[in-house]
């Protein structure tokens, strides 16, 4: 009778043993390391989205200079990461949050997840990116969502490359464009916002009904659009025009199997045809390491980090007078006149714009 409970204990003990043998986090310390102890470096936790990347040496330099240990918490895409920051605002999981973009900016500020910080580095930052005048969220980088085209396709068909959004509804480009659903993809949302910025909140649906009549293909995410549908990628799909990023052609060169003579793709950067995404960093309210967090924000706004970003994350620095890597200068294209919308306008209308788009294009 007593044996089954005993067995349970045995199984439990075995489970615990196996659990201990199973992956022990290399960085998991036995004692809470969140507070600075005289014996070890202080731990700074940075919450970010999955696309965040940085050169290892830069972080070790920061750690050495500040006697700190930086831990990154990758928390899904921008939406999931922000959600987690909002849900855990009473007991913040991190000290710094990076990766908030201008489509979510107002919402994040409304939720009050950040503490203001006027970084001395802000003087070096182009003021047009300083969208939050209360300095809760500080700009770090920007990128443009643009239409990429497959150069070979247009050459082979002897077809002129469309110059801007207006051209896309012309019959010669019927069925050639693949876009992402704005309700499931941030690049899709950015492209929708570009059309709203260009044609206005009253007229953009008219443009989309023309696009729909011209056979625009809608898929759920950037991965599917780029790797399944786009003919210029390794997927070798059917559409030679895809909503992607202005920096994607540079990535195609860097990640080519053999260094190509020229990029296989390019972006359409006509006036008002790309949407500019700006990404922000902020110090989370209740950060345990406020002083260190400030240092880290300054570090992200310093020249070494700003110049490291292009090749790590394929985004542009917001700092004036930074030098872009050669491959960026040659193949990445930033539009002179990107489409923009005020963050509070986006926050206010986001739901209704997406819903109206869904009703028109998908149903």
């Amino acid at each position: 009778m007593k044996t089954i409970p005993k067995l349970l204990l045995l199984i439990l003990a075995a489970a615990l043993l196996a659990a201990c043998a199973a992956p022990a986090a290399p960085s998991a310390p036995a004692a809470p390391a969140a507070t600075a102890t005289p014996s070890g470096p202080a731990e700074l936790v940075v919450m970010t989205h999955d696309s965040f990347a940085v050169t290892a040496d830069l972080i070790s330099r920061f750690e050495n200079d500040n006697y700190a240990k930086v831990t990154f918490l990758k928390s899904g895409d921008t939406g999931s990461a922000l959600n987690k920051a909002i849900l855990s605002k009473e007991a913040p999981l991190a000290d710094v949050f990076y990766g908030l973009d201008n489509t979510f900016l107002s919402r994040a500020l409304e939720e009050g997840i950040f503490e203001p910080y006027v970084s001395p580095a802000l003087g070096q930052i182009d003021p047009i990116y300083q969208l939050d005048l209360t300095h809760h969220a500080l700009p770090v980088d920007f990128g443009d969502v643009c239409i990429n085209y497959d150069k070979a396709y247009f050459q082979e068909k002897n077809l002129a490359v469309p110059e801007g959004l207006d051209d896309l509804v012309k019959p010669e480009y019927k069925g050639l464009l693949v876009v992402q659903d704005p309700s499931t993809s941030s690049s899709g949302l950015a492209f929708l916002l570009a059309t709203i910025a260009k044609y206005g909140p009253e007229q953009y649906l008219e443009y989309w009904s023309q696009l729909k009549a011209n056979g625009v293909v809608v898929v759920n995410g950037w991965e599917t659009a780029y790797y399944t549908n786009f003919s210029g990628s390794s997927g070798k799909g059917a559409q030679p025009l895809v909503v992607s990023y202005g920096s994607s052609p540079a990535a195609e060169v860097i990640f080519a199997e053999k260094p190509p003579a020229d990029a296989p793709t390019a972006s359409i950067v006509g006036p008002q045809s790309c949407f500019r995404q700006v990404e922000f960093v902020g110090i989370l309210k209740g950060a345990k390491q406020r002083a260190l967090a400030e240092k880290f924000v300054d570090f992200m706004l310093s020249k070494p980090f700003q110049e490291d970003m292009p090749l790590q994350m394929f985004v542009y620095p917001v700092m004036k007078e930074t030098v872009l890597p050669e491959v960026f200068q040659n193949y990445a294209q930033a539009p002179d006149e990107p489409a923009t919308l005020a963050p509070d306008e986006i926050a206010k209308n986001r739901d209704s714009w997406i819903k109206a788009w869904t009703d028109l294009v998908l149903k």
């Binding site: 009778m1 044996t3 089954i4 199984i11 075995a14 659990a19 199973a22 992956p23 986090a25 290399p26 960085s27 809470p32 965040f52 990347a53 940085v54 290892a56 040496d57 972080i59 831990t71 990154f72 918490l73 990758k74 928390s75 899904g76 895409d77 939406g79 959600n83 987690k84 849900l87 855990s88 007991a91 999981l93 497959d150 070979a152 082979e156 309700s183 499931t184 809608v218 898929v219 759920n220 995410g221 991965e223 599917t224 790797y227 399944t228 390794s234 070798k236 799909g237 059917a238 994607s248 990535a251 195609e252 860097i254 990640f255 080519a256 199997e257 394929f314 986001r350 739901d351 998908l362």
Partner: protein, 564 residues
Amino acid sequence: MSLRQPDARVTRLSRIQGLLLAGLPLAFLLVFFVYPLAAILTRAAGQGLERLDLSQVWRPLGFTFYQAGLSTALTLAAGLPAAYVFGRFDFPGRGALRVLTTLPFILPAVVVAAGMNALLGPRGWLNLGLMALFDLSSPPLQVMNTFGMILLAHVFYNLTVVTRVVGSAWEGLDPRLEQAARTLGASPWRAFVEVQAPLLRPSILAAALLVFLFDFTSFGVVLLLGGPRFATLEVEIYIQALHMLNLPMAGALSLIQLVCTLLFTWVYARLNQSGAAAPLAPRVKGEGLRRPRGWRERLAVTLVSLFLALLVLAPLGALALRSVSRLEAERGQRGAVQTGLTLDYYRELFVNRRQSIFYIPPFVALRNSLGYALAAVVFALAVGFPAAYALGRRGAAARGLDLLLALPLGASAVTLGLGYVLAFSRPPLDVRSFPLLIPLAHSLVALPLVVRALQPAIAAIPPSLRQAAGVLGASPRRAWREVDLPLLSRAAVVGAVFAFTISLGEFGATTMLARPDMPTLPVAIAGFLTQPGALNYGQAMAMATLLMLACAAAVFLLERFQTR
């Protein structure tokens, strides 16, 4: 030690024992499922109901039911013949085929989408072949982003649930029953309908419920293969929670999904009540298995093997082929895709070209994946065994546990993940100071499968065997070890394989957790696919192929355990 007497002392002890058996799984579910879910739903309700628009519910709800019903029917139609062949016949390649069919289960939807695309896409091998064969200028097959693709992917994913759950039950049937029926003059068909089918009913129902729940909460497949025209409840929850930041709406949808799950489980329990398990097991392990005899049986085995190989091997093979082939078209020759073999993608996996701090050597990712998966197996079995025993006892506790156990399968992974963020954000129970939270969440989803695999097997153990062992002087513990355990090993391995593959495939909720720097293979694969460039795509395919190989090897090893 004498035979049990129904005296008051024993009944009381037995009740305590029952409580203890039910207690561990109940506590586990309360802490790691009910609590985080309640936390997030309370938070959602607390945000006010102005953004709640229930008119938006019907469309996804209707579609969810429709696609799940159809997918389940198709999966059963394809899986039952396979279960029959696996459960009855011994044939060359049986083991390999069984390992193969589990592979889809581990693959992240992104990778399956890539595999299906490599096979059936506009530039997939099939279309390329057909175009070359019939000299066509455009791809003849247009199946990507269609409803049919969702169904196909669901069958591809869940077939293994039917073949494993039903197949192992079939294998565990005492062949004497069928033989007796035949001796008494029944035709093979009649012996099947009147003897085997009723005995298999519980496992068929269990498999149907599991497959239905998997399809009902399907997310990645619908999102990536179905395209934006199709949205299940789970897809809608994902959109509302993560893209609209509309937590109340996401919470309401999750609640509806949960209520539906409860309903299915209740119906299942009602259907299952009438079927009592026959306490008969083969005298010798594998006694029921034999070589196919006659042309009919041989044909059945051949057809099923071919079908499985085609369904599973073709997309997986297309994927593996992609990982070693260069698809660089010559300039200006978009029509003719040049292919060549290369190992560049694999080589590139070992190079941290950009000195990124997040670079993961493939073997480290593999180690992380395997570590989590093994821990998930241990947790799932440790909780699953007592749960399965508790379910075998009649009573309110068992019935309650039965309903509760299926819930994690029907719960929204997105919502649960956010619930984890809310509930487990402080040390000592947060992901950073307690990384085991991740395999614990995996085992939550694996638990229903483990229990459904174990419970029929436990019910089928004749009490007379245990009594005989008792009479012969074995202590209950020894009787359990030497009677129950060997008889349960097949079912336990089935459960372990599910737990292992679910964890390896990074099931649902855990991808939502903010995680420390211990990336797994699926995380690495997803990382490659978020950037443009041939090398990134190739490396994703290479990593996915490694994931498949690792899983195949591990499942193969796990299966070794049951032959002991």
